[in-house]
């Protein structure tokens, strides 16, 4: 399955700077009962986004007019910790989130984002805090993320550079099908496997 390539994206950035936002909070358990990927935008941040009455919670950042329809979120440390549920990433993507900008991300979540074409950008804590303050002002919430150039451009002309592994960058820019790429190495995998099983015959 090919992904939508990520090149240059412009949109609103919603700040959500609390630490340790876990995948149970991003996608609560009652939305994990499907066998497909559909309809997970409904579950995203469900307990924060909706009041017990079912009405949208006006205090929640993605419900506020200035950040509604955001393409990015600026998030706190260790975002995406906890459960491996990829449903969290599917939900973010279905809500239109194309990239998350934070200081650190949980490992499984990081890989899940990569495999769904969602860009994760890690910045120094101080730089992130400043960015968080900037996009917390409604008139400055709009940013551009340029993956090719590896920069974030702000409304006021500021430019924030970021690092990304070349391998991941290429995959995102081209929307590569990871399985297809790996299977081009089938012969190499088979050769490795033969030797590996010969050396460790109890693995057969």
């Amino acid at each position: 399955m090919s992904l939508q390539p990520f090149t240059l994206v412009t949109g609103k950035a919603a700040p959500m700077l609390a630490a340790n936002i876990d995948t149970d909070v991003i996608m609560p358990k009652q939305f994990l009962k499907g066998i497909d990927r559909n309809g997970l935008d409904r579950g995203l941040f469900f307990d924060l986004r909706f009041l017990p009455s079912g009405e949208p919670n006006p205090a929640f950042i993605l419900n506020q007019p200035a950040w509604q329809g955001a393409s990015f979120m600026v998030v706190g440390p260790n975002f995406g910790c906890g459960s491996s549920r990829e449903h969290a990433v599917w939900g973010l993507k279905q809500m239109g989130i194309r990239a998350l900008i934070g200081s650190s991300f949980a490992g499984i979540f990081y890989d899940n984002c990569q495999r769904n074409g969602v860009l994760l950008i890690s910045l120094e804590e101080a730089v992130l805090q400043r960015l968080g303050q900037t996009v917390s002002q409604p008139e400055q919430a709009r940013i551009s993320v340029d993956l090719q150039e590896q920069v974030i451009r702000l409304e006021d002309g500021q430019v924030i550079p970021f690092q990304v592994d070349t391998l991941r960058k290429t995959a995102l820019l081209q929307g590569l099908d990871a399985i297809g790429s790996t299977l081009q190495r089938s012969e190499q995998i088979k050769a490795f496997e033969r030797e590996h099983l010969q050396a460790n015959p109890w693995l057969n």
């Binding site: 909070v25 358990k29 009962k33 906890g82 499984i108 995998i189 460790n200």
Partner: protein, 473 residues
């Protein structure tokens, strides 16, 4: 020149099909995969849509554990349509792709990270990936296990490999003797409290030291299991004779000459003496007290003798806001003694702490006593085999006499994907791994602790210091 290598390095090196760049990415061969009903459906659908086969079906083992009810009478039917669809789709996928399935009525059914070691499916030196974050459990057997998402499950099913980036290494040395009443759960909770919920993000942890050596294999699994709550993407312990004794004669462990040959290799599985770790942490186990969580992140933990911490004492603004938010959710006041927190539920279960030793420990606390009037207390064994063994040993009768519900195995109220769900405001002493907001039910409040501490809390009706609980039998 050969460089001294860590145990982690050795696992990665021996499973590297090829290097993909000079930034640490490799194509990593995976020996085993464990599959459950809720993170795998879309992976199988992906294979179907692309017309791909499973590379080596015999290396995968599937089990139903997350959505099934744990009511005392086991039935094949799932009560909710979503869970039923996931279970039937898993059966269909396993049938069509040739993967062995332990379904709900199988005597070997149970929580994936309990049954995989139980069946001898996990062996030292293996690399295992599975669609569940607690796959780190297998480090206790000298294997390297890590959690992956659904897209990676599909990649693994199709190619037996993952595109993998090498982690940094963290060595945690735990020394000293644990005080009476303390367990490996207290060790890992203290470590998470010390280094934080992201303290090991980007690292594989290797545990070592006299405390670890003295622990049973099951107790070690609890530590490796919860290492992910500090952000670790893998947790190791060098396998020793206890591990080999644990594995011998397990159904899928090698037998005869093959066992002997494997042993020779497994005894080499340790970090080189002069291997250098990227980071080192030490923990004095003899100074530990029984740990409980007071907040909504596993690192928000304190010794049972402490008080609920005061956010005003914390200078870091973000940390203070997180604490305020956590205390608000938990309905706790700063300064309140933790031992005065009254519970409504007690839950012993999960891949962290529902093995036979955990149940023996809990039974020794509750024998001849009774669960407090206002508490609903549940035991959900980690596997059907654990349940059967506990019944044979008379533990089930002890729990039932004490007023506990004696249930069937599954993930149950650890994440409440089945019908074991708490209501808003319920407060649960829990032997599980995550105290996240809403984890055990929207608005429900979780306090993590060891199974013995849960058992004591069930009896007294409040969080209780196991060391002052009185005689255990």
């Amino acid at each position: 020149m050969t460089c001294a290598r860590t145990l982690y390095d050795k696992h990665i090196d021996s499973h590297t099909v090829c290097r993909l760049d000079d930034q640490g990415h490799v194509l990593l061969y995976i020996d085993r995969q464990v599959i459950n009903e809720y993170t795998s459906p879309q992976a199988f659908s992906g294979l179907r849509e692309a017309g791909r086969k499973v590379w080596r079906p015999g290396t995968a083992l599937a089990v139903v554990d997350h959505v099934n009810p744990t009511a005392p009478k086991r039935i094949a039917a799932m009560p909710d349509p979503g869970g039923a669809r996931q279970v039937s789709y898993l059966a269909e996928n396993c049938h069509d792709f040739g993967i062995e399935l332990l379904d709900i009525l199988d005597k070997r059914q149970g929580i994936e990270h309990v049954i995989a070691p139980e069946q001898g499916f996990i062996l030292p030196g293996m690399v295992i990936a599975a669609g569940d974050s607690h796959t780190t459990t297998y480090g206790a057997l000298g294997a390297f296990g890590f959690g992956i998402g659904t897209s990676e499950i599909e990649h693994l099913l199709a190619s037996q490999t993952l595109v993998y980036k090498r982690l940094k290494s963290l060595r945690v040395t735990v020394h000293g003797e644990l005080a009476t009443g303390l367990t490996s759960k207290d060790v890992i909770m203290a470590l998470i409290g010390k280094i934080g919920a992201a303290g090991a993000t980007g690292y594989a942890i290797e545990f070592r030291g006299s405390t670890i050596d003295a622990l049973s294999v099951e107790a070690r699994m609890t530590i490796c299991n919860m290492a992910v709550e500090a952000g670790a993407r893998g947790a190791f312990m060098a396998p020793d004779e206890k591990v080999f004794a644990y594995l011998k004669d397990k159904p899928r462990a090698p037998k005869g000459a093959l066992w002997e040959r494997a042993l020779l290799e497994w005894r080499k599985l340790r970090s080189d003496d002069d291997a250098v770790f990227d980071r080192e942490v030490e923990l004095d186990a003899s100074a530990l007290e029984p740990m409980v969580t007071w907040g909504t992140s596993p690192d928000q933990a304190a010794p049972i003798g402490a008080r609920v911490p005061d956010p005003q004492d914390v200078s870091d603004l973000i940390l203070r806001q997180d604490m305020c938010r956590a205390l608000n959710y938990m309905g706790l006041e700063a300064g309140m003694p933790l031992s005065e927190i009254v519970i409504s539920h007690a839950f012993i279960g999960s891949c962290t702490n529902a093995r036979i030793e955990d149940l023996r420990d809990a039974a020794s606390v509750v024998r001849g006593k009774h669960v407090a009037e206002h508490v609903r207390a549940m035991i959900v064994p980690g596997s059907t085999e654990v349940r059967d063994q506990a019944e044979a040993e008379g533990l089930a009768a002890i729990f039932i006499d004490a007023g506990f519900e004696w249930r069937q195995s599954g993930c149950s109220m650890c994440l409440a994907m089945n019908d074991d769900v708490l209501k808003p405001g319920d407060r649960c002493a829990s032997s599980t791994n995550r105290n996240f907001e809403g984890r055990q039910g929207a608005g429900a409040r979780t306090h993590l602790m060891s199974p013995a501490m849960v058992a004591a809390a069930a009896i007294t009706g409040r969080l209780t210091d196991i060391r002052h609980f009185g005689d255990r039998t």
